[in-house]
Amino acid sequence: MSKKLTVDGREVSFTDERNLLEVIRKAGFDVPTLCYRSDLSIYGACRMCVVEIEGRGIQTSCTVPPEEGMKVTINTERTRRIRKVVIELLLKNHDRECTTCERSGSCDLQNLSNKLGVKQLRLGKREEFLPLDESNPSVVRDQNKCILCGACIRACKEIQGHGVLDFANRGSNTIVTPAFKKDLSQVDCIYCGQCVAHCPTAALRIKSDIDRTWKEIHNKDKVVVAQIAPAVRAAVAQKFNLDPQKTVQLIAAALRRIGFDKVFDTSFSADLTIMEEGTEFVTKFTEKKNLPLFTSCCPAWVRFAEQKYPQYLSHLSTCRSPQQMFGSVIKELLPKELGTTKENIVSVSIMPCTAKKAEAVRPEFQTNNIQDVDIVLTTQELIKMIEEAGIDFAHIEAEEFDSPFGLFSGAGVIFGASGGVAEAAVRTAYELITKKKLEKVTIKEARGINTLKEIILNIEGQEVKIAIVNTLIEAEKLIERLNKGEVYYDMVEVMACPGGCVGGAGQPQLRDCCSRSGIQDRADDLYEIDVALPIHKSHENEDIKKLYKEWLEKPNSHSAHKLLHTHYKNRKRINSEGLSFGKNSEHALMNIEICIGSCCYKNGSYKLMDKLNELIQKQNLQDKVNMTAVFCFENCSSGPNIKINGEFIEVKPENAEEIFNKYILAKVK
């Protein structure tokens, strides 16, 4: 049922819009806002979207539900004053170095300031500049540009269920910060970048690797190789309003003009991933071992699993992500093809993702300190490089990818959308299991931007249950249901960003940054490319067949494992430095670590610590024994936990002296 209200005297109809703001916007009026994000909860803090409602005075249109007969005026003397004063107040506190700012031109604050005609700044300028947090490879945090709209906090909490950021302090000292004002690298940030994607200014931004890339390109001794992820083409096509299939060839051409020596498509290694992961799945499914198999293409999800659900690490596919598979193929096999050395190759990947930057530096993906993927650029950085190079992108001539890894299937391309990995895997796994040809390759249930999708397949009388989730809050809910035994799945595809990689934080920001329809459009583009391509199944890719024939033997072979698989690490303790007592002596012979976490505290670890401290003092061993309090050994059931020189020793406060004499005194003296 459509209802009506009036905006600036004009009748506007509405149905079930979540707030007045959406109604006003749909009707073609614009109300500015800095804190409203259609995919996040309503916050109502920036006060930019104020309107006057007859009988109700000034209200923020984002917080008011539309009602029949409402009379709304957008611009009154009072609402305009509020908007202009708010901008002036924000600019007072803002690092106004717009000319050199990453977000210049795409900054909401800058745009609104121009739009609203704020011409004079009467309130002074920011005096104190806080240091940047550049502690991690993906995201830079710049509090000097933060307007405290809280969008990052909500994104982290509501999309990833994570809550790495929150507010601290009061009044004008309020800041957004990780716990205890630590850096992002010291907390359990997964580098998904959704905070960046939702930031209206450059307070959170992608760490740029553009200059590093130019430096390598300008180095004549290096062979600079690029791989382009599937989701990148969809966003670039959307940005330049081009045909998506042609766009990827334009990107290839632009990259060559920029100076890349070889250009590949990550869809190729996506096909390779399907070969490996499909085979891994068939084996595990047949043996009914460690099911469900979780996909591992998404590095934010992998990190999240390592931090929060280490008990599921054995369920994670051991396959490297397509980026890292291509990375090792480029570093191990390409030099032989090109007749050069590994050291001379610079491998650059172009990704829709910020977490890929952190994935590339993981030690598992390095040999002798050489990273398989040297540099990760996001789609945004790619566009900037194209602009920097002065390339008229829409009008250059399209070019093909390089061989020998130049072919790819539609299955590889749809990796960029949530459900794409599962769909591609099914296309191959079906034929692997049944040895029959799969005629209908489209799996409708796997598509769309819903955060949870389920597929039940019947393969030769066997039921295969697959869940597809995007956003980690949804993944977490699914894991909780698994834990409780409420659901069963054979395979689970997890992507951290809304809608999968097409909604990645490395992509250009959409208007109202993460509008679901914009993400859906990108996914649709990928499915169209799949239709247009000659092959739709990864195992039919001739370059993949050749790769196995010449180098890898067969999927999951020994050499495939070495090159294409990895392992995971429990990261529950991000930072486990302890608190030492007194001066830590360099000449100490013994190191005692005592857990003072909640369980051990209850089991008397404080008493134990006091007792040991007393004994150390009594025997005058302060120089020889270092004692540290730590927060958890994850051995909570048998506390109080104590480690002497790294070994767990069973001890209670009562027999502290005995243990001291046996393990410490005897050995030190």
Partner: protein, 622 residues
């Protein structure tokens, strides 16, 4: 109507028992043990009474029954000791005075030197009720404060405790209770003045799928200089509990929270004791009076954020979130604590409820004005003779409060202004002294009842500094959520600082006003919406003082360091060099036996030299 189970507690019996027990205990001595008097040594006074009462040498025909009560209100004169038997109030009592008081009991005499002396006629007042401070008040919500032992539920029974709850459970449907409160015209005493009965009715009518509703008592009193709610919680906690229970019955809630600042430890302790005692007697908890109505009260300690007095921030805080206000709608009555319909009233509002039920709506309406019936507590502070806690009918005038009850301005100085309603309120002047204090009138002159803090200022107060003080307070307490409040109050504060430092221009006043109106219109919650009030009201009534600061660099109160210069009067200076030696910045230069001079660029106006001069040759020039 509920058929109440008679085997439950019988209030009439409890009252009788309490009476007998009080009589048997002996001579009642009420020692004020409110926070102020405790700070002045009330506990030592109490101990001394207890000690002497037990001492065989002082044994009276009657035993002594010293009782620690809540605040008597006359904080200026603490420690207060009242002997109800002959209605004598002793003021400024010290532990060393106790022996004399106890000895006076034997002779049935009065310790004259400890009586309150009326400053007007220098007469010692023998009857408590004749002390002007009390005589002009109407203590209803404070009726038991200072009379009962707040840690003993029996004493509450003496004054018909829990009878109101019993009556409504027996005789009234929830809708009837809401009706009584609507009829009484009681309005929220936390500041807003929203009709309490209507609020109850909203919550009563709100639907919840699990039938879960909450009642919250807002005890997060944070205004500088306000201590009304604290005094009620400390002095008569059961009244608050009873008021909450009645509200819970009327709205359909079965669980309640009292949100108290952690800075009120005594209030928290006494509330905890009261809840435990009421639960033990079956007056809180499951199946109260056998009526089937259950109500459980929790205490939630606040962590010292002023903004948590705002209802949605308070709710967020109880939920374990950072105390930041949320947008309304939805209102707490529909989606409040844990998204359930929630009634939230402040302490004083709840404290008014039992008496309204026990007497009736008409009785309550007999106090106060038509639109603002009842009484209101105020905390009197500042440059006033009788600081303390008072309760007067709504509509009383500032003159009555400040001069009749408060005893006028200290040291016979001239009245200048009064800040009413805390940081959200406004500054009123001499011309407002005869205005009736009620919700509408105060709003119309740019102030508000607020929670009831009254800070009285005399002619020595710099009005710009007062505005700055409150602006600094709200800026520090702003939660940081909405931009107008977070950044706007900071910018206003910066401008005020410039004015006080003598670096402002006249156009800054326009900017100050523009900011103030944008903050008022644009802020998310009440804290921001009212934050500019102190500045706006002082600009309205004392604009000339702002202008003097800016144009003439003059502070007529002589309080602004940047506006004064310290000079040496050449004619009087003997050149002794004493001032030069004491000056911390070596700003005073000269030759021995010749007049010294002050280098104004170096002088920090600390005033150290002023007192050092043996010849009174140094003076402050404003």
């Amino acid at each position: 109507m509920n058929s109440l189970n008679i085997c439950q507690i019988n209030l009439a019996e409890e009252k009788e028992k309490a009476k007998t027990s009080v009589q048997n205990k002996g001579k009642r001595i009420l020692i004020c043990a409110g926070t102020g008097c405790v700070a002045n040594g009330a506990l030592e006074v109490y101990e001394k009474f207890a000690e002497l009462g037990a001492d065989v040498h002082f044994k009276q025909e009657k035993n002594l029954s010293p009782i620690k009560t809540g605040c008597h209100g006359f904080c200026e004169k603490g420690v207060l000791v009242i002997i109800p038997e002959n209605d004598v109030t002793y003021v400024k009592v010290k532990a060393s005075d106790v022996q004399e008081i106890v000895e006076s009991f034997k002779t049935n005499s009065i310790v004259e030197r400890l009586l309150y002396v009326d400053p007007e006629n220098n007469q010692a007042i023998k009857k408590s009720s004749e002390i002007k401070f009390y005589a002009k008040q109407s203590r209803t919500s404070l009726s038991n404060c200072g009379k009962v032992d707040p840690e003993n539920i029996d004493e509450y029974f003496l004054y018909d405790g829990y009878q109101a709850l019993y009556n409504i459970l027996k005789n009234n449907k929830p809708e009837d209770v809401c009706k009584i409160i609507i009829e009484s015209g009681l309005r929220g005493r936390g500041g807003g003045g929203f009709p309490t009965g209507k609020k109850w009715e909203f919550v009563r009518l709100a639907k919840d799928e699990n039938n879960k509703k909450y009642v919250i008592c807002n005890g997060d009193e944070g205004d500088p200089g306000a201590f009304m709610d604290r005094s009620i919680m400390e002095g008569d906690p059961h009244k608050v509990l009873e008021g909450m229970a009645i509200a819970a019955y009327a709205t359909g809630a079965d669980e309640g929270y009292i949100y108290v600042r952690a800075e009120y430890p005594l209030a928290i302790t006494r509330l905890r004791i009261a809840i435990a005692q009421a639960e033990e007697k079956g007056l809180l908890g499951k199946d109260i009076f056998g009526s089937g109505f259950s109500f459980k009260i929790h205490i939630k300690e606040g962590a010292g954020a002023f903004v948590c007095g705002e209802e949605t921030a308070l709710i967020a805080s109880i939920e374990g979130e950072r105390g930041m206000p949320r947008s309304k709608p939805p209102f707490p009555a529909h989606k409040g604590l844990f998204n359930k319909p929630t009634l939230i009233n402040n302490v004083e509002t709840f404290a008014n409820v039992p008496l309204i039920i026990l007497k009736d709506a008409q009785w309550f309406k007999a106090f106060g004005t038509e639109k603002s019936p009842g009484t209101k507590t105020f905390a009197l502070t500042g440059e006033i003779n009788n600081t303390g806690l008072i309760e007067v009918p709504m509509g009383a005038t500032l003159r009555q409060i400040i001069f009749d009850i408060g005893g006028g301005i200290r040291n016979n100085k001239k009245f200048k202004a009064v800040q009413i309603g805390g940081p959200s309120g406004g500054c009123l002047t001499e011309e407002h002294l005869d205005l009736p204090l009620d919700y509408e009138t105060l709003i119309s002159v740019g102030a508000m009842v607020g929670s009831g803090g009254l800070v009285v200022m005399n002619e020595d107060t710099c009005i710009v500094q007062i505005a700055r003080f409150f602006m600094n307070f709200t800026q520090n307490e702003s939660c940081g959520k909405c931009i107008p409040c977070r950044e706007g109050t900071k910018s206003m504060l910066d401008i005020l600082d410039r004015i006080l430092e003598g670096n402002a221009e006249l156009k800054d006043l326009d900017l100050l006003e523009e900011l103030a109106y944008a903050i008022k219109d644009g802020s998310l919650c009440g804290l921001g919406k009212t934050a500019p009030n102190p500045v706006l009201s002082t600009l309205k009534y004392f604009r000339n003082e702002y202008v003097e600061h800016i144009e003439q660099k003059k502070c007529r109160a002589g309080k602004c360091a940047s506006m004064k210069t310290i000079e040496i009067i050449k004619e009087l200076c003997k050149g002794c060099s004493k001032c030069a030696r004491i000056c911390p910045t070596s700003a005073i230069e000269g030759k021995i036996k010749e007049p010294y001079i002050i280098n104004q660029e170096k002088c920090i106006k600390c005033g150290a030299c002023l007192n050092s001069c043996p010849f009174n040759a140094i003076k402050e020039v404003c």
